[in-house]
Subunit: 114 residues, 2 copies
């Protein structure tokens, strides 16, 4: 990915990332992975209020959206953030915010002119 001029994010991709973040348990997982770094399923489960299998399913959902990835390490599986998609989501929000601001400005100009 070139650093200049990011392409407009695909709405379908953006929606899938937002959907992945749109669950409190998953958002908590993401937050923990961001603050505490890569870690195993049991460790992620310890402070959660659902079962290990539920956490596993959520991790797979996050992986499907491209937000996390994992690698096997001995008898553990270590999960970590994959921040690229997070950046996509941020850029998408920035984009529609900018569009909204522009629309507001147009509206304001219209009102003030006439």
């Amino acid at each position: 990915m070139s650093r200049r001029s990011f392409p407009a994010p695909d709405p379908a991709d953006a929606a899938s990332v937002f959907a992945a973040l749109g669950d409190e348990t998953r958002l908590a997982i993401v937050t923990r992975l961001c603050t505490d770094g890569p870690q195993s399923i049991v460790r992620l489960t310890e402070r959660a209020h659902v079962s290990r299998q539920a956490i596993t399913k959520h991790l797979h959902a996050l992986a499907h959206a491209g937000l996390v990835r994992s690698k096997r390490d001995g008898r553990e599986r270590i999960w970590q953030m994959q921040p690229r998609r997070l950046g996509d989501a941020r850029r998408y929000l920035d984009q529609i915010s900018a569009q909204w601001d522009a629309a507001i400005d147009r509206l304001r100009a219209l009102v003030e002119d006439g």
Copy 2:
């Protein structure tokens, strides 16, 4: 860092906003409201591939998340963006991105120190 004046967004609120944006149809509605400005249900339905009632339900979902609001105007109901929550979501993403970057830096420092 940036914008310390904003309180840290409530994870539950953030999750509900992300969930609202996590559907392609709703994301399209938001985009259209941002680019084309406030408009009625029929107008929003015209270029959509689902029924008017489906659009109505999505609008209510967005309203529940605080992303849009509406007012009655004659026999129409006009819907428009309410960009505050959008800002909350952006800030939340910025926050966890920053946390991730910090974690990466800590990890790197640890590795380099030995």
